[in-house]
Amino acid sequence: MSQWVINGIRAGIKTTAYPAKPETAAGVTPGLPVGGDYPANNVNSLISLCPTRVFSDSDGQIIVDRRRCIHCYRCVRGVERPVNWEQSYEWGTVRDGQHEFGQPFERSIHICVVDAGDCGACLNEVKQLNNPYYNMHRLGFFITPTPRHADVLLVVGPVTDHMKFALKKVYDAMPAPKRVVAVGACALTGGVFAESFVCAKGVRDVLPVDVEVPGNPAPPLAILHGLLVATGRKAPAMKDADPTNLHE
């Protein structure tokens, strides 16, 4: 018994300082491509390299739709003029309409997690939020198995046909006020799986979405940021472009 205590103390404090201070450790995020000014011939080559149409051209400027990036690195690795890359993680953006709960929810919320067909990675990153490195309990975030107790519905995966019905039922069973946080490229756009006879183009095909967290998978810190945005404790990331106008 005492050995557990000793080893616990020996492990030291691992928990990140985020959100009080930025996290600077290596390996916490895969990063995302950055838009802006690029030489003219580079713009077209980058657009043609990306399999999920992340880039578009607006008067010679590259616009990045971060929601679509699946981290395939075709625009960086093995190419002559790679795209610029940033190691950020505050990626949560606000989707439709009102996203904040208002004051009563600023401290503690309960989260119901639904896997709507993810590949296992986004879910694994959500799971990491409970390990000592992220320890989301300290911020008042708790996972609840039942929708009846939940304030936030966190959805991962592109929403498969078989999960659509279950997902709607969970949402309907949640008391108001409620918010939906969609996590990962698949939950936002369907990712590599959409659109098909068994797969929707993300959560918005089924439910209204309040906060979106890009990434494939979204790293734990990005998910944490998304939850902080939902509770009004962090400002949402700037939208690079309004993706609705681009491809839909």
Partner: protein, 525 residues
């Protein structure tokens, strides 16, 4: 059994009915008459010590081709049994009576191609749930348009699950698809007559994304994105199996450095996945401190992976013909050094768990799978090795240079939850041992060989962290994928999962589930 012996036996038993169609050093293709199929498969599987890799159904222009893939140790190599029939004939003999491992393969083919298997005890309601899909939808047929958007069907309120326990007072407890905290979507029918659960039947494929169908008519490079992403906790292993299949078709000769780096990354992924599996076992027994320690190990390995490659789950590294980018030697050395430190933590954790009686009480003699059953069900990976079926593709049919590396394949006999946990720790040590050898063997050179895509078909296989993964790829003349068949290890292990959950107390269910180390995404592909 080696090749000449095999051919002699076959010539004696089935003269004229079974013919050797083509042969290479590692693969022997046997064209088999339909009548002889069950018995030939039975001999291979039950007597001649071959393992069943999978059933691959292909719809040609005018005929069906069913390919039953088997593999043995070393010289025995691969044996593919082929049966063909005109498209109009959709009935084949079932081999399930002898090769129980083929059970779900036949159910899947029935559901998706509309092929009937004579003698199979239970077909229907499998991938396409009967309460949501009308009959006669055959999505894997060539003429089926997968891009057509989702049809809005109504759930059938009258549908009732298949029940096995018929005692008075028996009832079914449905669990899922949304259950517990952070879990993948799967449904369980727990049949019970009170406190004890008599039987539990998993109902899967809530997450079915039809990857095999979506891959058709895409370029090989596009399909690689799918192969990496359909079960991303073991992304590298599946990506590697796909690449190896395409590289076999094209007769690629990979640069040594690419092979070694692939091994290094594959073992890093195994180490991370095993740490994650250990964490889940600790969590399921509600041992909070051990859970935290294992969670630290997993997160550290994720960070090591990201620091080395840019991505926590090793996306975007594999390329057809090698790797998309090189990794510097010193970065590999640094990743190795950090991994060794994590291993020390894991070893310490194991030592402590071994003397924590409250923990052991919940794992020992829980969810026992005997050796014979594990073999008959064709269980794979750490689960099978914990039950005494000690077969590992890295040893049995080596790829990517594993034949030159020194490592042990750990095995246990008990087949209970504790044996499965011990295997995970032992394999983690072997992974670091392999990484050490790989890092020491790195020599400068290129990491990619340009591929000339050509028509053909081949099987790629790897020992993924959860067990053997088999990817069958057929390319057409334009270099597009005509057929992609994935047989992931979780497909075999989910099939056997109900074995470990018979006659138990309800509170042990999460423990049994976690020791089986199953991935739903992998199974549901």
């Amino acid at each position: 059994m080696n090749r000449p012996e095999l051919k002699e036996q076959i010539a004696q038993r089935w003269p004229g009915q079974v013919q050797c169609r083509s042969e290479s050093a590692s693969l022997c293709e046997l064209a088999c008459a339909r009548a002889a199929l069950p018995e030939l498969c039975a001999r291979l599987f039950l007597e001649w010590n071959f393992s069943f890799a999978g059933l691959i159904v292909e719809e040609g222009a005018s005929e069906w081709q069913l390919r039953y893939a088997f593999y043995g140790e070393g010289d025995a190599g691969w044996v593919h049994v082929l049966v063909t029939a005109p498209l109009a004939e959709k009935t084949f003999p079932s081999i399930v009576k002898f090769v129980h491992a083929a059970d779900w393969h036949e159910r899947e083919a029935e559901d998706l191609f509309g092929i009937h298997f004579e003698g199979h005890p239970r077909l229907g309601d499998f991938i396409l749930h009967d309460d949501a899909w009308q009959e006669n939808v055959e999505p894997m047929r060539r003429h089926f348009d997968a891009r057509e958007a989702m049809r809005h069907r109504k759930p059938d309120e009258d549908w009732r699950p298949h029940r096995i326990v018929q005692e008075p007072g028996a009832f079914v407890m449905p669990v899922g698809p949304k259950f517990s905290g952070v879990t993948e979507s799967v449904h369980f029918l727990l049949e019970t007559v009170g406190e004890d659960v008599i039987r539990s039947t998993p109902r899967l494929f809530y997450k079915w994304r039809a990857i095999e169908k979506m891959a058709e008519d895409k370029t090989a490079d596009e399909v690689l994105l799918l192969a990496e992403r359909f079960a991303a906790t073991t992304a590298f292993a599946h990506g590697l199996a796909f690449c190896q299949a395409v590289e076999t078709i094209c007769g690629a000769n990979l640069p040594l450095r690419a092979k070694i780096l692939r091994v290094f990354l594959a073992e890093l992924e195994r180490l991370r996945q095993h740490a994650g599996a250990i964490q889940e076992i600790c969590e399921s027994t509600a041992l909070a401190v051990a859970n935290a320690h294992a969670g630290i190990c997993e997160e550290e390995l994720l960070r090591i992976s990201c620091e080395l490659t840019g991505h926590r789950y090793l996306f975007g590294l594999l390329a057809l013909g090698g790797l998309l980018c090189d990794l510097p030697d010193d970065a590999c050395a640094k990743a190795l050094e950090k991994s060794q430190k994590v291993l020390t933590q894991l070893n310490r954790l194991e030592k402590q768990l071994r003397v924590s009686s409250s923990f052991l009480d919940r794992l020992e003699e829980v969810g026992i799978v005997p050796e014979r059953t594990a073999m008959v069900y064709g269980l794979l990976g750490p689960i099978a090795r914990a039950s005494g079926v000690v077969r590992d593709l890295r040893r049995a049919q080596p790829y990517s240079g594993y034949e030159n590396l020194q490592f042990d394949v750990p095995g246990e006999q008990e087949g209970d939850g504790y044996a499965r946990l011990r295997i995970l720790f032992a394999e983690a040590r072997q992974s670091v041992r392999i990484m050490e050898q790989a890092a020491a063997a790195l020599q400068s050179g290129s990491v990619r060989e340009p591929l000339q895509l050509r028509a053909g078909a081949a099987l790629g296989w790897v020992e993924a962290p959860r067990g053997g993964a088999f990817h069958w790829v057929r390319l057409d003349e334009k270099g597009k994928v005509a057929r992609y068949r994935i047989v992931p290890p979780s497909f075999a292990n989910w099939h056997g999962f109900h074995l470990s959950v018979e006659k138990f107390a309800f509170q042990d269910f999460p423990i049994m589930l976690s020791t089986f180390n199953l991935s739903v995404a992998e199974n549901d592909r």
